[in-house]
């Protein structure tokens, strides 16, 4: 089975630093194998995610998404690859406050023609695709998605963010502790919906968290300490 993410000999250190903060020999995520990456803060999680999304440049090594090495590309091509292949969910403050829920979801299509085309092909129009995802994330709820997102609760905002990450079916969805600000019930519901919608879109989840109670939603669990051989601390 082809890997959606494949890291090889990946190393990173800040330009002024003496020691590396990340060093991964081999790591891959097979397609459709939702992966839970657990690590305490300071374990190099953020650095890894920034390397995978091509925002940081590695000292050496490769990070292939769907076979394309994002680290080997120019910064312009990295932005393009990120827009096309990766959906990203932050811990919180995921949404642009001055856009509506629909507009926030459609933002992903704005920067990726491929995802815009995929969304359109699937549901007839980008807007319908966004609406379908949002309805999936808000089952049995009659919400006005054209309203300002500031009126939404934190849990609702995270669902909109997840819909944005999934529109146009990107290969990889990175979720960086998206549930840390949610209470127990909301958290469980969010996880169910996230996995369900990811499956529906054929997107593979890379879920980063330090919360071990969430592992049961995933096909496999990896500790970052086990793959990062850099000395930290």
């Amino acid at each position: 089975m082809a890997s959606v993410l494949e890291l090889s000999e990946l190393a990173f250190r800040w330009p002024s630093a003496d020691v590396r903060i990340l060093e991964i020999d081999e790591f891959s995520i097979p397609r459709s194998k939702h992966t839970f990456l657990m690590g305490a803060s300071g374990s190099g999680k953020s650095t890894l995610l920034n390397l995978v999304s091509g925002v940081l440049t590695a000292e050496h090594g490769s990070a292939k998404i769907d076979g394309a090495d994002i680290q080997g590309l120019s910064s312009k091509m990295r932005d393009r690859l990120r827009a096309e292949k990766i959906g990203y969910i932050f811990q919180q403050f995921n949404l642009i406050p001055y856009l509506s829920a629909i507009e926030n979801v459609l933002l992903s299509c704005r920067f990726s023609p491929a995802r815009a085309a995929a969304a359109q092909q699937r549901h007839g129009s980008q807007r319908d695709s966004a609406l379908s995802l949002l309805t999936g994330f808000f089952p049995n709820q009659n919400l006005d998605f054209d309203r300002a997102v500031t009126a939404l609760s934190v849990g609702q905002q995270q669902r909109v963010a997840a819909a944005r990450a999934l529109i146009g079916a990107p290969s990889l969805v990175i979720a960086d502790e998206p549930t840390s600000a949610l209470d127990h019930d909301t958290k469980a519901r969010f996880m169910e919906l996230l996995v369900q919608e990811s499956d529906r879109q054929n997107s593979t989840l890379l879920f980063v968290s330090h919360d071990p109670t969430l592992t049961n939603h995933f096909h496999r669990m990896i500790r970052i300490e086990d793959i990062n051989s850099a000395v930290i601390g």
């Binding site: 953020s46 995610l49 920034n50 999304s53 925002v55 940081l56 910064s75 312009k76 932005d79 393009r80 990120r82 827009a83 096309e84 990203y88 932050f90 403050f93 995921n94 949404l95 642009i96 406050p97 001055y98 856009l99 507009e103 459609l106 933002l107 992903s108 704005r110 920067f111 990726s112 944005r164 960086d176």
Partner: protein, 419 residues
Amino acid sequence: MNLFHLGLKSLWSRRYTAILVLLTVAISTALLIGVERIRHSTKSSFTNTVSGVDLIVGARSGSISLLLYSVFRLGNPTNNITWESYRDFAEKQGVAWTIPLSLGDSHRGFRVLGTSRDYFEYYKIGRGRSLVFDAGNEFDQLLDVVLGAEVAEQLNYKIGDEIIIAHGLGTTSFSNHDDNPFTVSGILARTGTPVDRTLHVSLEAIEAIHVGWEGGVKIPGATRSVSQLRDKDLQPKAITAFMLGLESRVGVFKLQRAVNEYREEPLLAVLPGAALQELWGFMRVAENALWIISLFVVFAGFVGMIAVSLAGLNERRREIAVLRAVGASSTNVSALLIVESVILTAIGIVLGMTVLHALVWILQGIIETRFGIGISNALPTATEWKLIGGLLLAGTAAGTVPAVVAYKNTLMDGLTARV
């Protein structure tokens, strides 16, 4: 949704700050374009003070001094010129007309000008505009006076009113030609030039009211009644200056040289256009000062805009991280900030121009009456369009500062902005 829409929505979400920035830009625009318009109007009002006159001739002094006292009624002539010299040139071949000018008396702070009826025919303002009477006619009787518009308005004079002319200049005079009061025969329409502030009488009248005066002092018992005066020979011995027009302008330099080399007495002839330009050159210092001040206001405005934008940038790090995560490049983020700046500047310019037009519309009349400067409320001139273009460029440049900072932030923050 393109960057323009995104910028517009982003600005709307920060509308209170945006409105303040908008006002700064609007004030800068109104000031810069306003100063330019005043400068332009002042210059054209100034150069329009006199036209159609080919040469102004006076006693030898300086061209500016001659222009000041003959046209602007400012300062005093160094000397008079004799009637004979005046006639000599007036009768020269090729001279179409002359306007003699005799200054020295005043009425409640306004200058009295002794001249001939030709003044009303040949003296032109603006682009060849003749003097027009609002009421009454030229002076006909010996002691008739024609008032400039402002004189009539300020002193509230009507046709038929009697006024007394003071000897010498100044608002208050103890030496009056009170034995020979003048009657208002005409009131000129407003011109926006020194003509408005002048009382016009005939040369003979000037001569008549000085009968019985020696060395600027009235000799008791030596003054005459009007009928006695009429019988006297009232041809003046000297005048202050004269203006002349030629049949063909080709001969103007030749005649100017002839005047300047006149052997009978030292005379000076100036071309009004050239002298006005020279005089305007002196004003350029004030003009430039005004200009520099308004440029500084514009500069301060845009520095303020940069400051507001930079201060807001920290709060927007999350927003920028989200944009980066969905695939926006660092360049996209920078472009968004520049677009916002351009939108603000463009709306600010439109607002500023609207305010300026409204102000001009309201104040036009007052400025025209008080200062004699007609400010046009027309669409922007070519120069003004250039300035507007400059403002838009400056706004774009002001946007690049936060854009560059945001660009650096995106490289530093990655997708994990710390707030």
